[in-house]
Amino acid sequence: MDALIEIERLTRRFGDFTAVDNVSFRVARGDVLGFLGPNGAGKSTTMRMLAGFMPPSAGRARICGHDVQSDPLAARRLLGFLPEGAPTYPDMTVGAFLRFVAAIRGFRGAERTERIDHAVALTSLGTVMLQPVETLSKGFKRRVGLAQALLHDPPVLVLDEPTDGLDPNQKHEVRTLIARMAPDKAIVISTHILEEVDAVCSRAIIIANGRVVADAPPAKLALLHPSGRLEDVFRQITAPPQPVTQAA
């Protein structure tokens, strides 16, 4: 099956520092890719380049065959993107914000209302439509960002920490939502929560110091450590080479 997301040798340098180093992967329809790694490993930078926001120093990214740098508008139309920290305009109400995004996405009239209602139902935002975003809790803000990304039912979803700040019930809802959408889409989510990878991802990539250090289905990945737990694999692969042991 054709890959909806293609990343080829993507590299990003900031001065002497290489944040993302030669990262390549492809995600096909039906795949949910969990993007794991310690803080500062280059997850968000990779996602920014994939979304066409940050120009790469080398390499390329394509969404449904459209290069995000040379054909950005076509690529962005097919992409739903939740940036790091789920930024939204703080003084807009949830409703006004979603109407703005829907209008920019080219929806009008009844279709626009329908799209917004659908996204609001998926993310359970119905009760806060008239509230300014800045008055909302972290979990609601995250869901506003999610609703914005789902509005146009895109074939490609790139979600940077979609469950960060959500309570366990909301986390479960978002995971169910992702699992439900998975068959029709190519989805990339970044997360720190390893159980999430087990729960929703068909494949996991671990990135450390800008490089891909593991790329396999979660079940296979777990076998890399004798304990068979993803957490131990993650620590084994990404921990600094000589961990300092401290006596308590």
Partner: protein, 243 residues
Amino acid sequence: MRNTLLIARRELAGYFATPVAVVFIVIFLVLQGALTFSVGNFFQRGQANLVAFFNFIPWVLLLLVPALTMRLWAEERRLGTVELLLTLPVTETEAVLGKFLAGWAFCIIALALTFPFVITVNLLGSPDNGVIAASYLGAILVAGAYLAIGGAASAATKNQVIAFVLALAACFLFAAASSQMVTDFLSTQVPALAATALKLGVLARFQTFMRGVIPARDLIYFASLIGFWLFANVIILEHTKAA
């Protein structure tokens, strides 16, 4: 074009969703009123025109427009919303134009609210309303020039204070370039620059509008100045957005 207008509408609504709009308009009107009547001696002049009013417009706008533009991009970058906006299917040019148009529409609203001056002077005498209209057009163009400069300054930094100071300094350069003091200084010290400074300055151009003249070359001047800084804004934004 549709996206530009959508962004402009969102941005303009943003001014009114926060105290920015009210504070800006009130301070603008109070400053203009105080300056016109006290420093400008509106009544003592005994002339039925708004020269006392328009003389201060470029300077009051010089102070207030950078306050309006400082948040344009600096705040988007601080909040991270620039990442959201520029990964929607809009181009940088559409976003820059949208924000500029919103600021311009807002300045036009603020200028329109000075209508009591026009009514007052019409009640007291019979002024040349054509001259007043031309002066308003000049004021709108000056505001546009400052907005374009300020927008580019805001794209250059995440820090709103720096954006304000940069915009103020750059606008001041363009405002003062054609003033008597600068041209006198330049013509004795660096004569080669004096003519250029006179041509680049905003004030001399505005004064032709205040005389009731709308020369094509001044319209072209303002269009190029605004166009240049909007273009600079797009370029700066492309380089700084993800930094």
